[in-house]
Amino acid sequence: MRHLLSAADLSPAQAVHVLDTAAQMAATQAREIKKLPTLRGRTVVNLFFEDSTRTRISFETAAKRLSADVINFSAKGSSVSKGESLKDTALTLQAMGADAVVIRHQASGAPHTLAHAGWTSGAVVNAGDGMHQHPTQALLDAYTLRRHLVGDRGTTDTTGRDLAGLHVAIVGDVLHSRVARSNVQLLRTLGARVTLVAPPTLLPVGVHTWPATVSYDLDDALATRPDAVMMLRVQRERMSSAGGGFFPSPLEYTRGYGLDARRLATLPDHAVVLHPGPMNRGLEISADAADSPRAVIVEQVANGVAVRMAVLYLLLAGDGTRTTRTTDETKVPA
């Protein structure tokens, strides 16, 4: 793995390996001393062209827990507001010796361009690009689902296990959601079954080609007893005017597609509720649902740090390009 640009790039074995590594990283975060020396001397640049709280803080925490140096860059207050291009920004970062660039950009494909244009030699991690991909979010969702739903709900070791047989409903603004796109691909890779639930106006053209079934009715979808419900944020900033014509009114959206106490009660006992955050309380999810014991939304944030530690470790720790030493060769597992 050289870069992490899309959830679709991960093979089943790679995806499970990331989750297993994340589990070991999570175990280190329960210790008194949470910091590990693993990436000492490496530099990670957080290149954020779009607003973000949890993803940026999560990557920053992950990099710092692994002892990497972190440089935070946000477009606001930088030379980008003076008109600097992505290329020149990337060349600047390269000159400063960035070993990894974590990029969030409003344009789909910006991380791919950064990784393949030769502007930077570091590893590129996609932290969300436009309406395209958000692979670390999908990985942390998969990790959260595995912890709760695989192996007798956390009582047995889940190392090496995928999500085979699970049924996940992804509900809401699929059209604008990179989280949904990444999750559909990754959950499929890991063997889970996905149902997308949204009004027709919030489903993208060509959704029938995705490896998922589509439903327009949330109550029908919940009646099929999914193991997990993933609520998506209604991305009003990507809709032109109030509602943007995607749905008649917020109240009507809530009636049709909001998760409230009544719908929560129809779920199977073991089912969990996920939300990538930030939540619009009262729109796609009611306070009852968001604060219920089934909601694992706060845990998703904690798992995000472990998953991002795992991704940074797997991308940065080993380096096949340097000369291999033979010392301790007897210890290298075959």
């Binding site: 175990a27 280190t28 692994l66 720790a317 080993g318 380096d319 291999t324 010392t327 007897t330």
Partner: protein, 197 residues
Amino acid sequence: MSTGTPAPASGGAPAGGTGTTVLGADDVGRALTRIAHEVVERNKGVADVVLLGIPTRGLPLARRLAQRLAQVEGVAERDLVGSLDVTMHRDDLAHHPTRTIGETYVPGDGVDGKVVVLVDDVLYSGRTIRAALDAISDLGRPRAVQLAVLVDRGHRELPIRADYVGKNLPTATAERVRVLLAETDGEDRVVIEGGAR
């Protein structure tokens, strides 16, 4: 202290595969039994002893030592043994393909005030043990740390010495020492491969 006998070893019968077998299954068992008794003798019992095996092959060795200690001292085996992954503390991460991280598990209520006995299969450069010492300091502050290895093959690159040695095995750097264990490889055997022996 170490009472490991110097090589050349018993049972130099050619192995099924390549290389020379320097320790057979019985030799491995006897070495572990002796180390177990040395641990008990040196620490005057096992009251505060925690065995931490370094994955991959240090872990089954630590479990076997714990079995023997449990028999000798009559304590519960699972309170004695844990595992310590040192991958994230290694100084050679950048020189190898990415390593898989193993599990770290400490029995009971941690290592604070305990005597930690690190257990590994082969002691060579000493770098794994240096990493392990760093890893332990992240877990807590043990009263003492001791080191038990099945094979000490020499060529230290750091000032590190084992307290308990199954066998001292002078080797050339071109040679390769492989420890095979029933838990991971289906049989107990120590083999030297390569080099002009």
